[in-house]
């Protein structure tokens, strides 16, 4: 018998009739051709989160980002005028990668007054203008004003830096991110500057790792050994029910209970968690930050008192998880091939004031890694067996609504692209405008 009340249709999934309830094909995760289409249909036409404003604090601060799905690299930089800009990371002379350190494939960051190409010494201002050409008189009528760095659309929401590679993109970032982002505005993201980042090269399709973090149906089973035995048995008996699920255009969110920070019964958590008062859900005591109380209105939409976290998937490859004890994390999934991607999990805390705070954060971060390692390996196991095609369609349950929606959305974007139509988020904007 369910403990959480569901929408009047009887399920979260049927509340959104377009989703259907049939078993879902995972051909979209094992087809090289489909991935080729996704690159152009999704990654070349959507707003992509590439970092945080804190990474470019001053004029001249920059970082690079490899966007494998688009076979490009970008450099994001704060100009002398304070403006944020993004450029394709390519020298206009003969195509050398402009900004890199040691190994050209590695991302880098730093601070400079100009970008200087390692190859022939061409120099670019922070606003992208070509400033200097080595032996300029050897060229043939070279008009420097026509050889600036190639810009990429960039915009910022709540300190998150997004880029868009579609020159025809007309949907502004805030509108693209929609109602979920609006409901998060005011959260003190910018105050949480103690950062831990974990990175993995995962041998699975990028959507499979999103699947893993978009449902908690797996949590009492896959992660059982992380709890005491009695607790693991109990959790498995209960199973998992989300407090709330919602879909907005291509994006999705779920809200979950979280009884572990602090736990009702201290004996249910590991000894070190009891001593430090921290664990998987973060330090049990909230930092004293304005913006955490009250929380922005979109958070904990069911207003449940046992609320533990909200998890948002901003299509295509960016997730934000807001934890009740006052911290957040982000996930990025960067495809590198149909069966490979780079995963980044980044944890953000209010800066530790004492060594005890810092130990609490360390425990939360280490716990994150232990969970993440279990998830990673499961993905490789899934990818390999999906590729057998021995089974092609899979029944997704109501707690897996966001997976159903993700795969449907990704297929929808590909279909629109292949039929020569605009991206679904642009079409949605136009139909809303027409409806007045």
């Amino acid at each position: 018998m369910p403990l959480i009340s569901k929408p009047p249709e009887g399920s979260w999934t049927e509340h959104y009739p377009g989703l259907g309830t049939d078993p879902v094909s995972y051909e979209d995760s094992i087809s090289p051709e489909h991935y080729e289409a996704e690159r152009k249909a999704i990654f070349a036409r959507s707003w992509l989160c590439v970092g945080r404003l804190e990474q470019v604090p001053r004029a001249g601060s920059y970082f690079t980002r490899e966007i494998h799905a688009l076979r490009t690299s970008i450099v994001v930089v704060r100009g002398s005028d304070g403006a944020l800009r993004a450029f394709h990371n390519v020298c206009r002379h003969r195509g050398n990668k402009l900004v890199w350190t040691d190994r050209p494939g590695d991302e880098t960051r730093g601070s400079c007054r100009q970008f200087v190409c390692k190859y022939h010494g061409w120099r670019y201002q922070l606003d992208g203008a070509l400033a200097f050409v080595q032996q300029e008189s050897e060229f043939f009528g070279l008009d420097k004003s026509r050889y600036g760095l190639v810009p990429v659309q960039v915009d910022v929401w709540e300190g998150f830096v997004f880029v868009n590679f579609d020159p025809a993109e007309t949907v502004p970032l805030r509108e693209y991110l929609g109602a979920f982002a609006k409901g998060l505005e005011g959260y003190p993201f910018g105050e949480m500057t103690e950062v831990y980042q974990y990175r993995a090269e995962v041998r699975s399709n990028w959507k499979l790792y999103i699947d893993a973090f978009a449902e908690f149906y797996h949590a009492p089973v896959l992660h059982a050994k992380q709890y005491t035995n009695d607790e693991a048995q109990k959790l498995m008996g209960y199973g998992f029910e989300g407090l709330h699920y919602a879909i907005d255009g291509p994006h999705g969110m779920q809200s979950s209970w979280g009884g572990m920070a602090p736990p009702k019964d201290p004996s249910m958590v590991k000894p070190i968690e009891r001593i430090l008062r921290s664990g998987n859900f973060g330090a049990w005591d909230r930092p004293d930050l304005p913006g955490l109380d009250p929380l922005p209105p979109g958070i904990n939409p069911s207003r449940h008192r046992a609320w533990g976290l909200d998890s948002y998937l901003f299509f295509p490859n960016f997730m934000i998880v807001i934890w009740a004890p006052g911290w957040y994390l982000t996930y990025h999934y960067w495809p590198t091939a149909y069966d490979r991607h780079v995963f980044e999990g980044t944890l953000y805390f209010a800066p530790a004031k004492t060594a005890r705070d810092r130990m609490r954060h360390e425990l939360a971060a280490v716990t994150f890694k232990e969970f993440g390692l279990q998830d990673c390996n499961t993905l490789e196991a899934t990818q390999s067996m999906l590729e057998s095609r021995a089974v092609t369609h899979f029944p997704l349950n109501d707690q897996e609504i966001l997976l159903r929606h993700l795969h449907k959305t990704a297929k929808h974007y590909v279909a629109a692209y292949e039929q020569g139509r605009e991206a679904p988020h642009a079409a949605r904007r136009h139909s809303l405008a027409a409806a007045g």
Partner: protein, 112 residues
């Protein structure tokens, strides 16, 4: 000599036999965990866990951004204890179960 270059604070001299666990990065701590036996980690855990609360109380009185060297080593030793708590309290083996060839590298962490 009690606060020599490789020492812990005098109050935590009982943990000196485990001072090699005072490692500055998660990468080093995790590598040491994977290259240690369960018996080695068990003895470290049994010695250090009962001292964790005392270490936290000692360290929180000092400025986090200007810790003396011996205190910083004690803090790093506590981070290793946190890392080792998983094999000891949960997994019964050094590696995360079923994590096979997977890796998850810590690429950004605080300076201290």
């Amino acid at each position: 000599m009690t606060s020599g270059p490789r020492r812990l604070p005098r109050e935590f001299a009982d943990l000196e036999p485990f001072a090699e666990w005072a490692l500055p990065s998660e990468r080093e701590r995790y590598a040491k965990r994977l290259s240690s036996t369960m018996a080695e980690m068990q003895s470290f855990y049994e010695a250090a866990l009962p001292r964790l609360e005392a270490a936290a109380s000692y360290l929180e009185k000092l400025p986090l951004d200007a810790l003396p060297d011996d205190a910083r080593r004690l803090l790093q030793l506590c981070y290793s204890l946190i890392n080792v708590s998983f094999p000891i309290e949960a997994w019964r083996q050094p590696r995360v179960p079923d994590s096979g060839a997977s890796t998850l590298e810590c690429v950004i962490e605080p300076d201290v």
